[in-house]
């Protein structure tokens, strides 16, 4: 039917549960919408199940080694002797953040990673992005090099928004002409000129965190990426931008890419993802249809 549903899946669900305050739908309409959403999702998932894999996570183990816990790091002579002798600090604490995670993501899938703080969601994404080397006996295999979008501050805080867009595009491997051609589209998408027409000429350190996150999302989403990973980046924008970026995620998914979303907002996960993976203490607890996993996670969270 219509490509862009006017009602988001999470709104329908909330309305059925009687949590959405006011709405103009009858119960039959809601049930029909819900059935349609579930049917479309099942169809998308069935199609994606036979697609080519884009990310294979095979028995992934990530161990953080925290150097120098407890020893003085500040003395210049100590640093010099460490440089000369190539010795590492004697005290190393190990944190086993991800313990043997395996899953396969295919083209056209959008996967939500859910779990408590410190459960290993962001670490898993960083490993898929190739930022953290996995332990022996496992690995992450990807098609192309995925980009990771986090909520951290601006890309280059000293540079203007304009420069950040151009340099960011060049860093992703675009040519100069291509970067210039995409510039206006990125600025329009980020909507940061709506609140301040001179925003693009200001250094990004002057941006609010929401504005910076919007521009970063616009830069990273400007290219059709094979694998796009979004770490809480959607939570910072305002409602209007969230709806818009969800639309963009659906487009990316339709153009046969794979999207990963980490979020603590179950509504955002239900609206953007078809599949969800629940991670707890570095292990996968559930992997399946978004409603099924999100329901279980919500029920478990309420138990306290």
């Amino acid at each position: 039917m219509a490509d862009t549903p006017k009602v988001l899946p999470s709104q329908v669900l909330r309305a059925i549960q009687g949590k959405e305050g006011e709405h103009s739908f009858s119960e039959e309409e809601l049930a029909a919408l819900r059935a349609q959403i579930i049917e479309e999702r099942a169809k998308r998932r069935a199609e994606a199940a036979t697609n080519q894999p884009t990310v294979v996570v095979d028995n992934l183990n990530i161990v953080y080694r925290i150097h120098g816990a407890g020893t003085g790091r500040g003395s210049a002579t100590g640093a010099l002797s460490r440089i000369v002798s190539r010795r590492t600090s004697p005290t190393i604490r190990e944190v086993h953040a991800v313990r043997g995670i395996s899953f396969v993501a295919r083209r056209g899938e959008s996967i939500g990673l859910i779990g408590r703080n410190g459960s290993g969601k962001s670490t898993t994404l960083a490993a898929i992005a190739g930022l953290l080397p996995p332990e022996k006996g496992g690995g992450v295999y990807t098609d192309g090099q995925p980009s990771l979008l986090g909520i951290n501050a601006a890309l280059m805080p000293d540079l203007t928004g304009e420069r950040n867009v151009i340099v960011g595009c060049l860093a992703m491997g675009m040519s100069k002409a291509e970067a210039n051609a995409r510039y206006q589209g990125i600025v329009d998408f980020s909507r940061i000129q709506e609140t301040n027409p001179h925003a693009m000429n200001l250094p990004m350190k002057a941006y609010s965190s929401g504005m910076a996150a919007r521009l970063r999302f616009a830069i990273a989403a400007s290219r059709d990426q094979d694998v796009l990973m979004i770490d809480e980046a959607l939570a910072t924008g305002d409602a209007k931008f969230q709806a818009q970026s969800e639309q963009r995620i659906r487009e990316l998914r339709a153009s046969a890419g794979t999207v990963f979303v980490v979020s603590h907002s179950m509504a955002a996960i239900r609206d953007t993802c078809d599949r969800a993976i629940w991670i707890e203490a570095g292990k996968i607890l559930m992997d399946g249809d978004v409603d099924e996993v999100a329901d279980a996670y919500e029920a478990w969270s309420k138990q306290g």
Partner: protein, 326 residues
């Protein structure tokens, strides 16, 4: 739609596995669809090719960074010229007037300007290079590109500064009645080799600085000591011609890379005054010695440039997958 009753984590069934993964296993599945290990360091030549693809990023980033450098100052871009001029003014005041190091050195101001600017290029490339990875961790974690782009842009920023500085050098040379000759053109290959050398040094300290954040604190002291050993504001001859200096110390001082680059550029631009302008033969000899260029100087320039350039690149590339760790 939540299930009735509590959820006990231990009682959940094991998560569903992808059927193809269960059949083949991870490595075989990845091989079947041509997937590559994420974040794996590419072979050296492929890495160099990737770097070449991102050349617009390297220069674009350097230009943007350079512009933002003085964006807080009222005089703005004028500082690109003012900074080197003030630098030289300070050194001239201390070493030309207070300590009168100028004795015996022909055209001391030109001598000093060349030494200060060239060494400054090396020093700032190294200091900025050592911070290039740790300062841009957000960028490294957000976008994927060969990390060598960052220390390289640090060098290119300084190269742009050096361009401004060389304008001042030419101005000083003309002001001291040096007549331009074809010899001046030799400065260009010398500076190209020097840039390769500085870039290699920047890459070495960039890798060190990414693991050991103390490097950035330590480096100014090391580089300042190095500067005082390089004859930037005095002639090396005035030290080595003293009695009791072992031969190997002389060689080490003359062939020390930055000292050698500075000596060669000085010889390209400073012409020797005639014997008649000196009162005694000893004074004239001191002036000649102050510009002494050791044997095979150019061959050694090439050697140093290649050693640091290639060595630094390989050293940096070896840790490519580690830089996102921070």
């Amino acid at each position: 739609m939540s299930e009735p009753g509590g959820i006990v984590l231990e009682e959940l069934p094991p998560p569903a596995l992808d059927p193809e993964y269960a059949d083949l296993g991870g490595v075989a599945l990845a091989a079947k669809y041509g997937l590559k290990q994420s974040g794996k360091r590419p072979p050296l030549f492929e890495y160099a090719a990737q770097l070449w693809q991102r050349r617009h990023f390297i220069t674009g980033y350097a230009t943007a960074k350079n512009r933002s450098l003085y964006s807080n100052a009222r005089l703005g871009q004028l500082w690109q010229l003012l900074t080197p001029v003030l630098n030289v003014a300070v050194y001239y005041f201390v070493f030309g007037i207070l300590f009168t190091q100028s004795r015996g050195v022909p055209k001391f101001l030109l001598f000093l300007v060349i030494g200060v600017f060239l060494f400054n290029f090396l020093q700032t490339s190294m200091i900025n290079g050592s911070r290039s990875i740790s300062d841009q961790l957000v960028l490294i974690r957000a976008l994927h590109f060969p990390r060598a782009c960052l220390p390289m842009s640090a060098t290119i920023i300084q190269l742009q500064q050096l361009g401004f500085s060389m304008i001042i050098v030419v101005g000083v040379a003309l002001g001291l009645q040096e007549t331009p000759t074809l010899r001046w053109l030799l400065v260009i290959p010398a500076l190209i080799l020097f840039s390769v050398f500085c870039n290699g040094m920047a890459m070495i300290v960039a890798r060190m600085g990414s693991v050991l954040t103390d490097t950035a604190q330590l480096l100014p002291f090391i580089s300042r000591t190095w500067m005082y050993l390089c004859g930037v504001m005095y002639s090396i001859a005035s030290v080595t011609d003293r009695a009791g200096i072992p031969h190997w110390v002389k060689l080490a001082l003359y062939y020390d890379p930055p000292a050698l680059f500075i000596t060669v550029v000085r010889n390209c631009m400073i012409s020797m005054p005639s014997r008649a302008s000196y009162a005694t033969a000893a004074d004239y000899q001191a002036a000649v010695n102050s510009l002494h260029q050791p044997a095979f100087a150019w061959a050694f320039l090439v050697f140093w440039a290649l050693l640091a350039g290639v060595g630094g690149f390989v050293y940096f590339w070896k840790a490519e997958e580690q830089y996102g760790r921070g």
